[in-house]
Amino acid sequence: MSPSRIVLFLAAAALPFIVEGQTAASKIPRAADGKPDLTGVWQGGSSRIGTWEAANAGGGTNATSGQISPFAVRGPQEKAPYQPWAAEKVLESFNRRGIDDPMARCLSPGVPRTTTMGLFPMQIVQTPKTIVMLFEVFHVFRVIPIGVQHPDDLEASFMGDSVGRWEGDTLVVDAIGFNDKTWLAGTGTFHSDKLHVVEKFTRMDENTIAYEVTMEDPAVLTKPWVQHSTIMLRPGTRLREYECAENNTDIGRYEKLLQDETVFRRK
């Protein structure tokens, strides 16, 4: 194994315990102020290197093409630590095949679901004082001021309120102010308005952002839920339009299905 391969191997093996200073500092793009530059169009929930088309043969949901990032997260992810009553509710949603997905009603996907959604690209625009994340899915956005506190007049919202800070080469985004109308990640992963999300974005190389998200919600979880994934650069991709409400026929079809749940329930 060559020295460079050993470095890559060690870096990959170190995940999911990324700490400050672990990135190859000289090899990542940097902004004029010296911070890692996250500017670009990205795909969350992926570990494949390359253009969107090269990395997503198969329609963007089950890519089997493209080289895998050396920083890809390996091994099983932690299951959501829901309180027993809440776990029952998540399981019920799974058994009903996610028919209650808020996104089916064209509602904003929330945090961190928006970030980890693989089917649609996101764009990061970085300035020294503000980082803006634009998401193709339903045109949602996050404006993340750097080095400030959350406002004291928050009202519960789908995307919450985000503030950022740099810890070394890692962008840490703290988000609160959520309503209880979105899912965290997989089917049925509901939360309360006590949700507190902390995300860490660490650019590891040209292609890869290592993403760590910690979800705290004392009303439904027994402890913080930590998930790791990678966000991949997609050169040449531009955000397009996704105007969900144009022809959303799902709700009417769902109402028919719900008249007899045995038709589609898992059990």
């Binding site: 963007g60 029952e88 998540v90 095949r97 996907p109 990640a185 049925g188």
Partner: protein
Amino acid sequence: MTRSRNLPLAAVVLFVATAASASAHHSFGAEYDANKPITLTGVITKVEWTNPHSFFYLDVKDASGKVSNWKLEGFPPNVLYRTGWKKDVTIKQGDEITVSGWHARDGGNWGHSREVTFKDGKKLFFGPPAGTGDGGNAPSVDVPAK
């Protein structure tokens, strides 16, 4: 499967079930049955290039010559573009195509599309894998037995 037997032009294709846990706009698994793969050949009668999902309609003729119109659901325009489709160019009224996908649970003339094969043999995905959006193979939680 029984539906396919009633449609001699349709051949059943065996799909390997994929662990599709990817997020989609809504649950394909609630409306469509991953255990009922369908393959239909016919003539395009209409294309709806719309959000949150696109549709095309296909006239399918059975052995007796009876024509029925099928509705197939797939990706929104943004995803279709990145999957290689061009609006009003790649698929048009009058084109003969073959589509594979999965039948609606209610047994009607509609389904969830996956791969479209054109007359020249070219293939493109019009929709996601079976089960997309319905939770995948396992729930996000472990629930202790009572």
